[in-house]
């Protein structure tokens, strides 16, 4: 606060255009977005969720009434007519904006968010700051991305990489917290339904505004001859929702009748488990826990055998190598559980912790939330790298860090899973209960003991 530009504003070193007066034509909101928003974030969940908003310049409001206003306002957008600037040249280089029809961008697809943190507070520094992420989840016109957005970017555009530069959505709520945990997801409103509402509304306004409807950007696909429905990464469908009694979490299909999840999701051997694959929708298959590691084992793993095959679910290919820094994705039912399908979050493999040259722990920068445990960690080519076990909690402050999380390398599990899958032999899995002390030390996030010096006597 208190920054005052003392020279003409510059954008990344280039002078900004002067401010242009504009007229508010319409306030518009997508009823379907509001309905989905209410379903995901409202009612009994409401008290858990907090959303950041672009407060007035330097004031931060605390009172509840304004917070309620903010929630109401969150799903509203505005259409403005900008007064022409006689000096502004016709821009021959400009690429025509096009809009991605709703549903054409699949989960896991790369997205680019472009907004100005803190709005007009410091545009010469922050105007059009971009951030990359993926489409993490979608329920109707309500979309979520893990691209990092800050207050002030509300209304900023979110663009697809494929088809290049198609407008997918606008930022509705840049930051959200659930039960005090920063979720690391940005709430978006799909652009196509908003612009359809604008098109219809303009037709009902004064004739001078009605003609503007023809200026609204077209939906891409028909004109560009692109496939309208990009199926997206097929490997994401290997993630399943796992329910065991009142506990639920994520899991991954590793064979037509075998699902791996975490012990803290399905803790007891022989207990019945309900597995819900992502496709077909509403399918559910019963199974039971055939193996769960002991509490003392650092590998928080449970193996579920299903009563019938999982039809049409792709079997992920387990990797044999890990490359720190490689692009990775986590697929899990964290944050929303059954309210909407699994979320995809992206990041990189930030660390491969080894004991005696054997990978025993993977760390990523993907956003991992409560409920994602047991879910799969994939490489960008869809190979299964590991099973998500936890994110990070600071025991002193209680703060949760979604972007620092731990997975069990699939190389630790694969031989044992194969042994069981092919011969029903549990001995390999039971070895997970007898890991060495150094492995335990790693998973207790302790520093490895220094070598105890040998006595020279």
């Amino acid at each position: 606060a208190g920054l005052e530009p003392v020279q003409p504003a510059r954008h990344h070193g280039r002078p900004l255009k002067p401010q242009h007066p504009a007229e508010l034509l319409l306030l518009l909101s997508c009823p379907a977005f509001r309905a989905h928003f209410g379903r995901l974030f409202g009612r009994e969940a409401a008290e858990q969720w907090r959303f950041a908003s672009a407060a007035r310049y330097s004031e931060v409001s605390e009172d509840e009434e304004e917070e309620e206003d903010q929630l109401r306002a969150l799903s509203w957008f505005a259409l403005l007519r900008v007064q022409p600037d006689p000096e502004e040249e016709e821009d021959k280089h400009e690429t025509a904006l096009a809009v991605a029809p709703l549903g054409t961008v699949p989960k896991g697809a790369p997205l680019l968010a472009c907004g100005s943190p803190f709005g007009a507070f410091c545009p010469d520094i922050f105007l059009n700051t971009v951030s990359r992420g993926v489409l993490s989840n979608a329920t109707g016109p309500l979309l979520l991305t893990d691209a990092r957005c800050l207050p002030g970017t509300e209304g900023g555009g979110v663009f697809a990489v494929r088809p290049p530069g198609a407008l997918v959505a606008l930022v509705a709520a840049p930051l959200c917290w659930k039960s005090g945990e920063w979720v690391g997801l940005t709430v978006l409103c799909a652009a196509a339904p908003l612009l359809r509402i604008a098109h219809n509304a303009l037709g009902l306004l004064r004739t001078s505004a009605a003609s503007l409807a023809s200026l609204l950007p077209p939906e891409v696909g028909t004109r560009w001859g692109l496939p309208l429905r990009d199926p997206g990464p097929t490997w994401a469908a290997a993630a399943v929702l796992v329910e065991c009694g009142t506990i639920w979490g994520s899991g991954v299909v590793v064979a037509p009748r075998l699902v791996v999840t975490c012990r803290h999701v399905a803790p007891r051997e022989a207990s019945r488990v309900l597995v819900r694959p992502t496709t077909p929708k509403n399918a559910k298959i019963w199974g039971h826990v055939v193996f769960a590691t002991q509490e003392t084992s650092p590998y928080d793993i449970s193996v579920v055998s299903l009563e019938e095959d999982l039809e049409g679910v792709p079997m992920p290919v387990p990797t044999e190598h890990f490359h720190e820094g490689e692009a990775v994705s986590v697929v899990g039912f964290g944050v929303f559980g059954q309210a909407c399908g699994p979320s995809v979050t992206s990041g990189i493999l930030s660390a491969v912790v080894q004991v005696d040259d054997t990978p025993v722990m993977l760390q990523t920068t993907c956003a991992v939330h409560g409920g994602s445990s047991g879910g799969p960690l994939f490489s960008c080519s869809g190979d299964l790298l590991g099973i998500v076990a936890s994110n990070t909690r600071d025991n002193n402050t209680g703060a949760i860090y979604p972007h620092l999380n731990f997975s069990i390398p699939i190389t630790v599990l694969q031989p044992a899973l194969q042994q069981y899958s092919q011969a029903g032999d549990l001995r390999g899995l039971q070895e997970l209960d007898h890991t060495t002390e150094p492995v335990r030390v790693v998973w207790r996030l302790q520093r490895p003991q220094a070598e105890t010096p040998q006595s020279k006597l």
């Binding site: 007066p21 105007l127 290049p164």
Partner: protein, 110 residues
């Protein structure tokens, strides 16, 4: 340091803007602002977030929650609303022209 500019970046930067809503006669300190997307340049059409207009609503924000309401006309806000839009240099303006795809090189106009 070169700039990574795919087509998505180019479109995003070209379409991005900031929108400021204030009351007539008020200083910048008392305004609200957010980001927006330039849908068309001439004539100028911008889509931005609606939250910055609610302090100006004549009937208060209660009208927003009627489930089926999909739009409200611009004159739902008071007459003392002033809106300004600002964007970066466009590709056509000399300051804005940067040759994509060959960072670090430029083609000065003859």
């Amino acid at each position: 340091m070169g700039r990574q500019c795919g087509p998505d970046m180019r479109v995003a930067e070209q379409a991005g803007c900031v929108v400021r809503a204030s009351r007539a006669g008020q200083t910048e300190a008392g305004s609200w602002s957010c980001s927006g997307v330039i849908l068309s340049r001439s004539p100028g059409l911008v889509l931005c977030h609606g939250g910055i207009f609610f302090p100006f609503m004549r009937a208060g924000s209660g009208v927003l929650t009627a489930a089926a309401t999909a739009f409200l006309p611009g004159d739902s806000c008071s007459d003392d609303l002033r809106v300004h839009v600002q964007w970066g240099p466009t590709a056509s303006s000399p300051e804005g022209r940067v040759k994509w795809g060959r960072p670090g090189l430029s083609t000065p106009q003859c």
